[in-house]
Every structure is written in structure tokens, then in C-alpha cells.
């Protein structure tokens, strides 16, 4: 006897699984992490190299500018290294990545995937945060070797470095998403690098700045990043660590909010 196939079964029906809820979000996150890692894998080595070069290179260059390097000055420069390695990743590589994605159309492709956009964003943030760490550590090691400083590492370092990496990535990402024109993003990114490398108290104390400029840096995230990192690497050198954590945290929230605002809208 020939089995009669019911025509009803041959219809393609939409899946009746619910595309919401925590388990769906988590499985989307896992899928997005795999997807992002596969895309990023070929660049990961270059990213670490670029970060180390920026962090360690800038630390060496700062040293050349001083006629004599005192112990305190050496400690300031050396403990600025991880911050100097994190900033280029978050404020240069992440926005450049977004610009490339926009130009190549990958950006729209990812948005068209059936994964919650919040899972897409969290996957990007998580991967970049993890990728940011080796470069920061390498830059610090080069700095310690060059200046022969003794660090006293405290448990504060772990939350500090994670928060700083997370903040710079979310702010970089939010900025690149919020600014529509890639050319403008490019200009902002380049200007930022210049300001950060020359005009931010990362490798020297903020007390050297004129009063109004120091006040500006109490609001901007760069000095606070350096302070919280320094709190984890030294004892007694960093002051107002709590406030600095709050400032970095506030910028991280702002970066997430900017991302959420752009990602949450329909186009």
C-alpha cells in the first residue's frame, strides 16, 4: 500500500519555536560569538601586535622626551602603558571595524540575522574585551622591563582592566554607530588619538595641567582610566580611585546607551 502523504505536511511552515526568552537569547549569543570569532580570528594577531606597539611604543617615546627620568616619573610612564594599549583598540580599531562593516555591507547583513541585536552587541563587546587583554599585558611588560619599576599588583587590577577595556570598546562602538558618516567618524577617531596621546594625563600626573584643563579631564574618561589601572598596579600613587571608577563606569553606560539607541531603532 502506498502511503498517502498529506499535502498539509509538505507546506513550509514558520518555526513554531518561540524566538524570545532567555534560552533563545543565550543560544543566539553563543552563535554570534562563534560567528564574530571566526570573522575576527584572522585579525586577532594583528590587533594584539598593534596594541602592544602603540602601548609599548608610546611608553618608550615618552621616556625619550625627558632629560632625566626620576623613579616617580618612570612609575607614571610604566603604569600608563596598559591604558595606552587599551585606548587605540577601543577608540581606533573598533570604530574602524564598524566603518569597514558599514562600507562592505556586513553591518546590514548582521542586522538581518535572526539573533537579537542585544546579543549581537554583547558578543562584540565580550570578544573585543577579551582580545584587549594580551596587548595591554604585553605593553606593561615592555614598560616594566624598560624602566625597571617595581609594581605592587592588587586585586583591584582585574575589575579595573576589564572595566577600562569594556568602556573604551563600548564608547568606540557607540560613537561609530551614532555618527552616520564614516568620514566624520574617521576624523573624530584621528583627532581623539592625537588628543589622548599628547594632551591626556596618562603617563604624567594631572597636577601638571593648567587648572581648567585638569577640570576637563576629570569629566573625560582618559585620566580616570589611567587612575584605576594605576590603583591596581601600584600602592599609594593613585588618588580618588572611587571617583575614577565611577567616571569610567558612567562612560561605559553612555557607550552602551548609545549602542542600544542606534541598535534598537528600526530603519
Amino acid at each position: 500500500m502506498i502511503a498517502v502523504v498529506e499535502p498539509r505536511n509538505r507546506l513550509v511552515r514558520p518555526r513554531d519555536v518561540l524566538r524570545s526568552g532567555l534560552s533563545y537569547w543565550l543560544s543566539s549569543l553563543a552563535a554570534m560569538l562563534r560567528f564574530d570569532w571566526c570573522r575576527m580570528r584572522q585579525w586577532a594577531g594583528m590587533m594584539v601586535a598593534f596594541q602592544t606597539m602603540m602601548g609599548a611604543g608610546m611608553v618608550l617615546i615618552y621616556g625619550f622626551f625627558y632629560p632625566s627620568i626620576t623613579a616617580t616619573r618612570a612609575l607614571y610612564i610604566a603604569t600608563g602603558a596598559p591604558t595606552l594599549a587599551l585606548i587605540p583598540l577601543g577608540f581606533v580599531m573598533v570604530p574602524s571595524g564598524v566603518i569597514m562593516e558599514k562600507l562592505e555591507g556586513t553591518f546590514d547583513y548582521i542586522w538581518s540575522m535572526p539573533a537579537p541585536r542585544s546579543a549581537q552587541a554583547v558578543s562584540t563587546f565580550a570578544l573585543y574585551t577579551v582580545l584587549a587583554l594580551p596587548g595591554a599585558v604585553l605593553a606593561l611588560l615592555v614598560a616594566v622591563w624598560r624602566y625597571g619599576v617595581h609594581l605592587s599588583i592588587s586585586p583591584v587590577l582585574l575589575p579595573a582592566v576589564l572595566l577600562c577595556a569594556f568602556m573604551s570598546i563600548t564608547v568606540g562602538n557607540g560613537m561609530a554607530l551614532a555618527i552616520k558618516n564614516p568620514m566624520v567618524t574617521n576624523v573624530v577617531v584621528n583627532a581623539l588619538v592625537f588628543v589622548v596621546l599628547l594632551f591626556s594625563p596618562i603617563a604624567y600626573p594631572a597636577s601638571q595641567l593648567p587648572g581648567w584643563f585638569a577640570a576637563v579631564h576629570r569629566v573625560l574618561p582618559f585620566e580616570s582610566m589611567a587612575t584605576v589601572m594605576r590603583a591596581g598596579l601600584t600602592s599609594g600613587l593613585a588618588t580618588q580611585v572611587g571617583t575614577s571608577f565611577l567616571v569610567v563606569g558612567a562612560w561605559a553606560v553612555a557607550g552602551c546607551a548609545a549602542t542600544a539607541w542606534v541598535v534598537g531603532r528600526r530603519r
Binding site: 617615546i61 615618552y62 625619550f64 622626551f65 625627558y66 632629560p67 599628547l198 594632551f199 604624567y204 601638571q208
Partner: protein, 265 residues
């Protein structure tokens, strides 16, 4: 009925002219070509040059509680070198890289203009676009730090030679390196080197000995010596050595560029 004479339709092959009159005419057209194709960029480039020069001059004082005059003098007399080099050495190769990606590189090579004319026109553009930033940086430095500057007429040959060296090195780099990505990478590395790993903005004694020795073979250290000598009216044997080394770099880079451009492909 008028018949079309085929001879009028062909372009005479002797379009590439010789002699000084042709050379000058071609030079003016190429100059106009460069200025027209860069018209959007030139203003931006000028602004970036001025801002970065002034930024460096002012920013360096933040590194010190009280900046020593010698440190201010080194930075202020080093920034002009960077201003002059920037367009020819960094922007030039990047422009060539873009042309290679966009395909206009091949087109430019088909123009009936001799290679020396193209090189001369580009050198002029590089020289002219570096000078305003150099002047502004020096004026700001003088106002900010009240420096003991004594500008001697030697600044003219110094600026001319530095600009020519930067342009020729950029020329050689842009034309000899095939891959546009590699060009971008090398120019970025060069920026890093000129700012931080060559004794341009700070004295030689502040870097490790081996790095100072290594820098003797590269032109940047000597360019800084030339500018500094002209701006502070000092002299000595190091200055003449500097002119010779930079001159050698000009000749070598021009030779490489000429060889690459002269090859048939």
C-alpha cells in the same frame, strides 16, 4: 562633399616635447593637475598640519611641571622638520596607494609628460604645503616659550633639501612598493619613527646609544640638525655631514623612483 582626411584624425606621436619651453609648459600643467585633484584635500591637509604642529608645540609643556628651555627649543625646532616632511613622505605614498587601488595610477602614467616633470611638480606641491604650518608652529612656539631663536639664511637651503628628501623618499616608497596596504602600513610606521624614535623633537643624548647610532644612517636625525642649526644660528661639522647624508638620501631615493618608473611593465 568634404571628405574626411584620415591624417587629421591621428595625433602626432611627438606629443612628448623636449627642451626647456616644453618642460616648463608641462610643469605648469602638472602643477595645475596636482592642485586641482587635491583641491578638497589641500585645505584639510593644511589645517591638519597646522593643528598638529601647534598641538605638539603646546602639548609638550604638559609633560613637565616647568618645561626647561632646552626641551622647548628642541621641540619647537623639530616640529618644522615634521611639518615639511609630512606631505611628501607620509601623504604622498598614501595618495599613490589610493591611486593604485582606484586605478588612476595607470592613467597618470599614460600622460604624455616626462617623469622628471611629474616629480618636479609634486615636489613643488609638497614644499608649498609644508611651509605655512612650519611658520605658524614657529610663531606659536616663540610666543609661548620666548625662545632664543636666530634665524639664519641657511633655513632656505635646509627647508628645500629636507622637503626634496621627504618627497623623493615618499616617491620611491609609493612607486616601488606594489601593495597599497603595505604602503599604508609603512607610512604609519614612518610617522611613528619620525615622531618618537628619531632624535627630531628631543636631543640625541636622551635615547639609548645603539638607537642614536642607528639613526645616523637615517636622514631624520640629520634633518633636525640642519633645521636647528639654521634656526639657532649654530654651525659645526655635524651640519655639513647632515647636508651630505640627506643629499645622499635624495639621490638614492630619486634613483630608486626613477628606476621603478622607467621600467617597462
Amino acid at each position: 562633399m568634404a571628405t574626411l582626411d584620415a591624417a587629421t584624425l591621428t595625433v602626432r606621436f611627438s606629443a612628448v616635447g623636449h627642451g626647456p619651453r616644453h618642460w616648463w609648459r608641462d610643469y605648469v600643467s602638472m602643477l595645475r593637475w596636482h592642485l586641482a585633484s587635491l583641491r578638497m584635500w589641500l585645505m584639510t591637509l593644511l589645517a591638519v598640519q597646522i593643528l598638529s604642529g601647534v598641538g605638539f608645540v603646546l602639548g609638550i609643556s604638559l609633560f613637565f611641571r616647568h618645561i626647561p628651555v632646552s626641551a622647548a627649543l628642541y621641540v619647537s625646532t623639530g616640529v618644522p622638520v615634521i611639518n615639511i616632511l609630512m606631505v611628501g613622505l607620509i601623504f604622498g605614498p598614501q595618495l599613490v596607494a589610493n591611486q593604485k587601488s582606484a586605478g588612476s595610477y595607470e592613467y597618470l602614467r599614460t600622460l604624455p609628460v616626462s617623469r622628471t616633470v611629474t616629480a618636479a611638480a609634486w615636489s613643488t606641491v609638497c614644499l608649498v604645503s609644508g611651509i605655512p604650518a612650519m611658520v605658524v608652529s614657529l610663531v606659536v612656539a616663540q610666543l609661548r616659550y620666548d625662545l632664543p631663536l636666530h634665524i639664519s639664511p641657511m633655513i632656505v637651503p635646509a627647508v628645500l633639501l629636507i622637503s626634496l628628501a621627504g618627497t623623493m623618499m615618499g616617491y620611491a616608497l609609493g612607486h616601488a612598493v606594489g601593495n597599497p596596504m603595505a604602503i599604508q602600513l609603512v607610512t604609519q610606521l614612518l610617522t611613528f619613527v619620525v615622531f618618537g624614535f628619531a632624535p627630531v623633537l628631543f636631543p640625541l643624548s636622551q635615547m639609548p646609544g645603539w638607537l642614536a647610532t642607528l639613526n645616523w644612517w637615517f636622514p631624520f636625525r640629520h634633518m633636525a640638525v640642519m633645521t636647528r642649526a639654521a634656526l639657532t644660528s649654530t654651525g659645526g661639522s655635524t651640519v655639513s655631514t647632515a647636508y651630505i647624508v640627506v643629499g645622499v638620501w635624495v639621490v638614492a631615493s630619486a634613483a630608486v623612483a626613477g628606476w621603478v618608473l622607467g621600467r617597462r611593465r
